[in-house]
């Protein structure tokens, strides 16, 4: 716990809180200022909007510790504010509220509109207020209330202040105090070593089979490698080596009866996950097809995934080349599944596969040159596109895609 000092509604105030405590929770929990409402808690609904250093701010995605020294005004602090007083009367008159849940945020945002916009149209007001949601559909009344206060104030000769009176650069609430640090109770920076031990077998999910499971998302990819089909088929049978081509993947040991344990690390922007899991592997030499059924869990985000990868190895169009068709189906549940913008997942999967093909090609070439495949270092061992894909590699992958991939 760490002390945070603010000026709240004109009075100096402080309280101890964790670094993770956002400003809305800080005000509600330590100062009983429950006028600040929490709705979506991820910056979309606007219910928690309040004034920080005089300008509207989302208090649910602003951390109290980051506002050290800032001046915060909640709806409770607007009792004697001139614009807010006029707005409250207008909200009553125009029926600008019903349940009242969105009202504190609405008043703060509406006050800002009246302060900054000289002569907005109804459309302008609707656009500028679109960051505050009302579920009783009170928008007509809210818009009218704002219009009437603006008309009244302009008629009294009070002009708008377009920049809202702010003269300083940078995020509202920041820059009011010097360097500082705050430790979380049970700080991970000391506890991390014990957390890092390998998960025990008991925590690993077993692969369930034949239970009618269907993947949520399925996509197929094809690529061609410039090596004979027998060589590629053999290579796909050596699971450890295949895994080493997949960036971030590693096995706990060699497979026993087609059963293997392993892990894969994936990093996408700020999100990083480390899935530990098991897989069952089946291969059919006659048709040169194989399947990998796996399940995995990321302890950190409490997310789970289940997937099935099917692959077919066949002769390519060019002599001595091999075409590999891969079908990847997966279901993601838990925390990470919330981040489900399919386009982004596809982009990440494409980049992952591109690196896999690059590594595979490098290994096969090394092997064809007489080297032992196991000795050849993979080109890229960790999927962290941010730090690994230099513009050079990107260019290579682009050419790779253009030449090898036919997206289905």
């Amino acid at each position: 716990m760490n002390m945070v000092n603010l000026t709240i509604n004109g009075k100096e105030a402080n309280a101890a809180c964790e670094p993770r405590t956002h400003l809305a929770d800080f005000l509600r929990e330590t100062h009983n200022l429950t006028g600040t409402h929490i709705g979506c808690e991820h910056g979309v609904c606007g219910a928690c909007t309040l004034l920080v250093d005089g300008v509207p701010t989302r208090s649910c995605i602003t951390f109290a510790v980051a506002c050290e020294g800032a001046a915060v005004t909640t709806v409770e602090g607007l009792d004697n504010d001139e614009i807010a007083t006029e707005l409250r009367a207008a909200f009553s008159r125009e029926h600008g509220l019903q349940c009242g849940y969105c009202t504190p945020g609405m008043l703060v945002s509406a006050r800002d509109v009246i302060l900054r916009m000289q002569d907005p149209t109804e459309h302008d007001i609707r656009v500028i207020m679109s960051g505050n949601l009302c579920r009783c559909t009170g928008y007509v009344g809210i818009t009218r209330a704002i219009q009437s206060v603006i008309a009244d104030r302009r008629a009294r000769g009070i002009a708008a202040i377009p920049e809202g009176g702010r003269s300083r650069l940078g995020p509202a609430g920041s820059g009011n105090s010097g360097a500082a640090s705050a430790r979380a109770s049970g700080s991970k920076v000391t506890a991390v070593a014990s957390e890092r031990k390998a998960p025990t077998a008991a925590t690993r999910p077993a692969v369930r089979k034949d239970d009618g499971w269907k993947p949520q998302t399925t996509f197929t990819q094809s690529f061609t490698v410039a090596h004979p089909v027998d060589v590629v088929w053999d290579f796909f049978g050596r699971v450890g080596e295949v895994a080493s081509c997949l960036p971030g993947a590693s096995l706990a040991g060699e497979p026993v009866d087609g059963h293997v344990e392993g892990q894969i690390k994936v990093k996408v922007g700020p999100i990083s996950a480390e899935f530990h899991g098991v897989a069952d592997i089946a291969r059919d030499d006659a048709t040169r097809t194989g399947t990998i059924d796996g399940t995995g869990k990321d302890k950190r985000s409490n997310s789970a995934t289940r997937g099935r990868i099917g692959y077919t190895v066949q002769e390519g169009n060019d002599p001595g080349a091999t075409q590999v068709d891969v079908t990847i189906g997966f279901t993601l549940t838990g925390m990470l599944a919330q981040f489900s913008r399919s386009g982004l997942v596809q982009d990440v999967a494409n980049r992952l596969i591109a690196v896999f093909v690059q590594n595979l090609e490098a290994k096969l070439t090394h092997q064809a040159g007489g080297g032992n495949g196991a000795d050849a270092p993979p080109v890229i061992t960790e999927f962290d596109a941010g730090s690994l894909m230099s513009s050079v590699i990107i260019g290579q992958i682009k050419r790779f895609f253009a030449k090898l991939f036919r997206r289905s």
Partner: protein, 276 residues
């Protein structure tokens, strides 16, 4: 909807920030205005051991004026552009686009450096800065380097940051008096992330004609010599829609409806600039 309990540090200078993010044993995240990271922390998509708040670093909240460009600190906010606390050298392009980013309460804390580094394909800064020819400067253990905005973004949510590196500033060239620009984004709801973005900038005095198709599934498509596509700016601009469709397809956008939406966004960016 509460984040994991992370440690917090607010360094007073860039050197201090670089020291903190060099810790390879822990998950360290840089935070500026927290308008993208905040939601991801609340949803526990991101579970850092340490959050490094860089908004206490004065030089990152500053703007420097040069002969042919201005240099904007990473922690300058969208509202700072909107309200012209950052001098406009782009004939209104950046203030106008800033006004359309999310909502005012978000713009009061969200920063230009944070938005670019977050590298959401649908975000506004990357597309407009790619059009006007913006650059970012990164600082790390090996010193500093400057790259074009469109090269800094590698893919969805991936910026070209080496370990221990951070974005410190954005450089925006001063457009000449005859320069024209346009920006159009297609959103179903005001303030949400765009489904398609079209943007361009022509500056005949400097011999520049650039067009950008943004809000793709990955990096924006940047056409650095767009004279054939939109014109050179010396006469009326006109989009060659057929060429635009071909170029967008060559960049990898396979879905024809998706292509049409993106080409339409670019066309509207040009049409609206004509009448402006």
């Amino acid at each position: 909807m509460k984040p994991v309990n992370f440690d917090y540090a607010r360094p007073g200078d860039v050197a201090g920030a670089l020291r903190l993010i060099s810790d390879e044993d822990h998950t360290v995240k840089i935070m500026a205005g927290s308008q993208s990271l905040g939601p991801m922390l609340n949803m526990r998509l991101v579970q850092p051991d340490l959050v490094v708040d860089i908004t206490g670093i004065a030089e990152l909240r500053d703007v420097g004026d040069g002969a042919d460009a201005i240099v904007i600190g990473a922690c300058v906010t969208h509202a700072d552009f909107e309200d012209l606390r950052v001098p406009d050298v782009t004939r209104g392009a950046l203030p106008s686009v800033a006004r359309g980013i999310a909502y005012r309460a978000v713009r009061n804390r969200g920063t230009i450096g944070g938005s670019i580094t977050h590298a959401d394909p649908s975000a506004d800064w990357i597309s407009i800065l790619a059009a006007v020819g913006g650059k970012v400067t990164l600082q790390g253990p090996a010193g500093s380097r400057t790259v074009a905005v469109e090269d800094y973004m590698l893919g969805a949510l991936e910026a070209d940051l080496q370990p221990g590196e951070m974005l410190v500033s954005v450089t925006v060239p001063k457009l000449s008096a005859s320069a024209r620009w346009g920006y159009y984004k297609s959103c179903r709801k005001t303030g949400e992330f765009a489904h398609a973005i079209g943007s361009f900038m022509v500056d005949p005095e400097r011999g520049v004609s650039r067009a950008v198709v943004g809000a793709t599934e990955s990096r924006p498509y940047v056409f650095k010599d767009a004279r054939k596509l939109i014109g050179d700016g010396k006469s009326d601009l006109r989009l060659d829609s057929k060429l635009a469709d071909e170029l967008v397809e060559a960049e990898g956008m396979a879905d024809p409806i998706n292509r049409q939406t993106h080409v339409a966004a670019l066309r509207r960016a040009i049409e609206r600039a004509q009448t402006a």
